[in-house]
Symmetry: D2
Subunit: 335 residues, 4 copies
Amino acid sequence: MLKVGVIGCGGMGRSHIDRITNRTQGAKVVAVSDVFEEGAKKAAEIAGGDCKVYTSGKDLINDPEVEAVLIVSPGFAHCDDLLEAIRLGKRVFCEKPLCTTADDCKKVMDAEVASGRHLIQLGFMRRYHKGYIQIKDAIATGEYGEPLMMHCTHRNPTVPTSYDTPMAVTDTVIHEIDLCHWMVNDDYDSVQVIMPKETSLTHDKCKDPQFMIMRTKSGIVIDVECFVNCQFGYDINCEVVTERASLKMGTPMAMSVKKDAKLTTEVTTDCFVLFKDAYDEEIQNWVDCAEKDVIEGPNTWDGYLAAVTADALVKAQQTGQIEKVITVDKPEFYK
Amino acid sequence: MLKVGVIGCGGMGRSHIDRITNRTQGAKVVAVSDVFEEGAKKAAEIAGGDCKVYTSGKDLINDPEVEAVLIVSPGFAHCDDLLEAIRLGKRVFCEKPLCTTADDCKKVMDAEVASGRHLIQLGFMRRYHKGYIQIKDAIATGEYGEPLMMHCTHRNPTVPTSYDTPMAVTDTVIHEIDLCHWMVNDDYDSVQVIMPKETSLTHDKCKDPQFMIMRTKSGIVIDVECFVNCQFGYDINCEVVTERASLKMGTPMAMSVKKDAKLTTEVTTDCFVLFKDAYDEEIQNWVDCAEKDVIEGPNTWDGYLAAVTADALVKAQQTGQIEKVITVDKPEFYK
Amino acid sequence: MLKVGVIGCGGMGRSHIDRITNRTQGAKVVAVSDVFEEGAKKAAEIAGGDCKVYTSGKDLINDPEVEAVLIVSPGFAHCDDLLEAIRLGKRVFCEKPLCTTADDCKKVMDAEVASGRHLIQLGFMRRYHKGYIQIKDAIATGEYGEPLMMHCTHRNPTVPTSYDTPMAVTDTVIHEIDLCHWMVNDDYDSVQVIMPKETSLTHDKCKDPQFMIMRTKSGIVIDVECFVNCQFGYDINCEVVTERASLKMGTPMAMSVKKDAKLTTEVTTDCFVLFKDAYDEEIQNWVDCAEKDVIEGPNTWDGYLAAVTADALVKAQQTGQIEKVITVDKPEFYK
Amino acid sequence: MLKVGVIGCGGMGRSHIDRITNRTQGAKVVAVSDVFEEGAKKAAEIAGGDCKVYTSGKDLINDPEVEAVLIVSPGFAHCDDLLEAIRLGKRVFCEKPLCTTADDCKKVMDAEVASGRHLIQLGFMRRYHKGYIQIKDAIATGEYGEPLMMHCTHRNPTVPTSYDTPMAVTDTVIHEIDLCHWMVNDDYDSVQVIMPKETSLTHDKCKDPQFMIMRTKSGIVIDVECFVNCQFGYDINCEVVTERASLKMGTPMAMSVKKDAKLTTEVTTDCFVLFKDAYDEEIQNWVDCAEKDVIEGPNTWDGYLAAVTADALVKAQQTGQIEKVITVDKPEFYK
C-alpha cells in the first residue's frame, strides 16, 4: 500500500485524492497540504480517517510516513517541492507543467539525473488514453512504414476570459506537444504558429483559433488546430500519416440516433469525460511502478522538452516565424 | 432512337416522360395516353414537339410508330395492355405491379413464353441502385460463403390515410420481395407477418409497424421491418449475413456536421432522392437492351413471383401464421 | 470491506476472484470453495494471504466471516447454495443461470420473497455495458416515444463441438433475454425460433444460425440473430425502434486504418474484451449495494423470467411454433 | 443541340467526346482536332457519323458549324486557341490550366473582358462534386458562422516517374486551389509549403509528401496535405471549420463488410471513379449555360487566380518561406 501525500487541494487535487482513495489499487492518501488550510482539511475528508493536513508542501514531503508525493499545486510552486522530493528520494507524480521555466525544468532534471533514480512522472494523462495507445502500437508494428505527418485538433467549446493567447500553448496544445513526440518516438526541432481569421466568439486577450506546426528532428510534420471557442464540443482528433497508411484515432462508443431526418451521435463537451479512464490509468500505473522503482509514464525529460517546446511556440505566436526548439542534449539517463 | 409510348400520365408517368426526354440516351417519347385527355396533353408537352396524345392504351400500343411501351397506368389496367403489347411483339417497361392478381400475372407470363421473346421489364428500380448491386456482386464472388439471412428495413416518414394495412405489402415491401430473391438468386417458399406494438402515429386502417419474414426455397431467412410512419426518414437498410461475413449496404454520400455537441448527417426523407440514379439507370438499361432484344432487368417471372409472394404476405397479415408461397414451376424460359 | 466467499474456482471463478482482489473497491475474497480442492487452493492464491479454502459451498456459506457469496459453480449446483444463503440472510452474486429449471428458480424466488430482503443479483453483466445503458436512458427520456421493436445480433466467431442447439438459447441469447426486457421494462409473452439455412461451418449438434423472436406483454417485438459460428467476430448489435426514432448501440472506440485501398477498423473476437468494463462494474455495483441493502442489478425475478423464457425458446426450437412464456404473476416484491 | 468542336484527342479528349456523345443532353461533337491526325480520326469515330477531323485547333474553331469549343490540348497550346475563340465569340470549355503562365492567363482574361461576354469555363470539375457542393451550400446558409480554416488531403496511390515536385502544385493541389477559394468565396493572399520527412516510396524528382498552406485575403487558413505516393488510395478529404461548426465532406456510398475480425469499406484508387458524376455534370452545365449565355462554372478569373497561386506555391516549394500571391485587381466583370 503506497502511502501518498498530495500537495495542492484545488479541484484537480481533490479529484486525485478521490481517485486514489476510491479507484486506485495499492495506494492511499495519508497526507494532504495546501496553503489554504481549510481547503486542505476538506480534501483530507475525502481521503478519510487519519489523513494528515499540512499547509506546507515541504513539511508534507518530509513526513516520514509519506512514501510518494503527488504535486497538484500551481506550476510556480513545483520546482522547490520537486527538488526536495528528489533530495529525499521520494517518488513524485507532478501535474503539468514540470516547472514554469526551462531553467527550472533543467535544474530538476539535473537533480534527478544526479540522484541516479527515476523518480518523477508528469501528468500527461493522454498517454494512457486507449485511442493514442492504439495508434502508437500500430506504428510500432512497422507494418505501416515510417510516420511522416500528424494532423491533430484540440477543440474546446469555450474558455473563460482569464484564458489568454499564450495559454493556447501552455494549457491546451501542451498535451499534443507531449503526445506527438511520444507517439513517434522523436524530439522537436522547430515550431510555427499561424493565426487564421479570428472567430467572433472569442474575447480580446485570446487569439482563436490558432494553427500550430511542429517539426521533429527526423522531419515529421505535426499540425495542431487549436480552437478553444469552437462552441460545438471538446473535440480531440489525431491522424498519423505513414508511408503506407493513415491511422486515425477512434471516438468513444456512442449511441447513434435517427430522428427528425438526422443521424446523430453525441460529441462530448467535457475533457474529464473523454479522458476519465486515462486519468485513472495514469495514477494506477504510477502506483504500480513504485514497486518496480521505474517510471513508465512521461518523465522529467518529457517535462523539460514540453517546457522548451512551449516556449518556442509562445515565441512563434508573436513572431509569426519558424522558431527553433533549442534543448540540451538528451541525457543518456532518459534514453 | 427507340420510339416510346407512355401509358399513364400521372406523376410517375410524367416523371418517366421527363426522364426519357431529358436524361436518357437513345430514346424519345412519341406518344402518350391517359383516360384523362387533359393530363395526357400536358404530359405530351414535356416530351415536346410532335408527341401524339391518346386516351386509350390499346390505341397507343397499336400506333405503328410506337416501338416500345412504358406502362405507368394503375395496376388493374396493366393486364390487357401487356397482352396487347405481347401480341404485337412490342417491348414493354411496366411499373409494378405486373398485374393485380396472380392469375393475370400467370396469363401474361404464359403469353410471353408463347411469344418466344423476352419483352417485359418490371419497374423494380432498386435493382439498379449501386448499394444493392455492390452486395449482389460481393455475394457472387463466393468469397463470403453462402448467404444465410438478410435483415432489411423499409421506413417511410409518414403515409396518407389512403394507405391501408395490405399496402405495407403491395406498395412498400414489394420492393424487398423483388430485391431479396434477386440478390440471392432464389425464389420464395413461405412467409410470415408479425404485428408489433402499434405506433400511436399511424391511423386506423394501417397497422404499423409490421415485421415480415420471408424464407426462400434454399432456406435463406429474410426479415423486413416495414415502418411507414417512422417519422424520421426514408430509411432503407439491407444487410446480408453469409457463412463468413456480414455485408451491409452503404448510405449515400453526406456531409457530416459537428455542431452543438452533436455529430450529424442527414437522413433523406424522399425516396426519389435516394433512388434518383436508379430510376434513370433502369430506363437507360431498358432502352439499351432493346437493340440486343433482351431483358436484363426484372422480368415477367419476377413480376409473377412478386405477385404471388405479396398475396401470401397479405394472407399472413390476417392469419398470423406461416403461409406457403405457391407458384407454378419456373418456366425454363426464365432460367 | 465486504468479505466475500466465492463458490466455484473455474476460469470464471478465478476471474471474479482477481476482479474483487485487484479491481474492486470495498471488498475482498476471504474464502473460496470448489469440489476440486487443488483448484480451490490455486484460486485462493489469487486472493492472497489468509483466504480460506473449502470443498463445499454450504460450508463456505456457513463460515461466519463470509458476509456475501459469489456463486460461479455449474448451474445445477446453484439451487441449494442459493437457498442456504437466503436462509442465513447472506447476499449473493450468482452467475447465470439462477437455476437450471423454472421450478428451482421459483423455489429460490419464493424463499427470497419470504425472507423479505433482496439478496440475490444475477450475473447478467451486460446491463452494466455503457452501450445498453445509453439506449435504456434514451428510451426513458420519453423523447423518442414508445419502443416498438428491437433488432439484435449475437454473433460468435466459433463454438466448440460441445455447444449444442439448445445452448444457443441457454448460453448465448440468454443475455438478450435479460437485456431486452430490462431495456424496455416489460416481460415476455411469447417466443418463436426460425432456423435459417445452416452454415456449412457449424457441426452436427448445433443448428446455426438461429433467428429468435420474442414478444413482450405490451407487444414489443424483439428479434435476435444468433450466429455462433459466424467466423468474423464477437459481434453484438442492438437497435431499438421507437415511435419516432431508431436508437442504435455504438461500437467500442477503435482506430481506423486506411491501407491497401481499404478503410478498416477491428471487430473484436473476444467477449471479455468487449464487456471487460461491464464485468468490473457489475461486481463493484453489487459490492456498493451491500451497504444500502438493495439489489440494483438483475434480480431473482429476472433470473426466473430468463429461465422460463429460455425454456419456451428451447421448446420453440423444436416445434417451430410460437410458444407462450408462462410465468407466475410477478410478485409485488419485485415491482 | 449545341455543336461542339473538341481540340485534343488524347485520353481526356476522347473521354469528353464520349461524354458529350453518350451522356450529355443537348450537345453533340461535330468536329475534333489533333496534331496527330490518326488520333483525331479515332476520336471522331467515338462521336460517330459525320464528325469532321482537323489537325489544327484554329481551323476547327473557324469552322462555322462549330458553335462551342472544348479545349483538351496540352496547356502550352491553350492561349492561342482561347484568344481565337474569344475573337470569334465562341464559347469554350478549357481543361486546366487556363494557360501555362500568368501573363498568358492575363492576356486571355483581358481579351474576354474586352469582348464583353463570358465565354470561358475552366475544367475544375470538382466544383460539380456533390460533396463540395453540400459544404458550400451549408456555409452559405450562415447557420454555422464564418469559415475560418479548411483542412484538405489530396492523396494518390502513386505517381509515375515523370511527375516532379512542382507538379504537386500544378497537377494535384491545383484542384484545391480552385475549390477552396470558391467554397469560401475569397481570393488568396499568401502561401507556404512545408516539406515533411520524405516517404521512401517516392522517386528522386518528386518530394513527397508536401504540406501546403494557403491564406485567403480575409485570413482563412487552408492546409492541404499533398501525398501522391500514399499507396493506399485516391483519398480526398475536406473539412471546413467555421465559428460554430466543423463541416466534413462525406465519402461515396460503399458497402461495409465484416469479415476476419475487421469491418472494412473500400477506398477508391481512381479519381475518375470518385469524380465520374462531377465530370458529367460540369459538361452538362456548360452545355446548359450556352442558351443562357452565361458561365456558371469556374471562369477566366478563377483560371488566372489558380495560375498565379500555383506560381506562388511553386516558388514557396523552393524558398520554404511564406510567399505572397500577387494578382491584378479582380475586374468588375468577374464580381
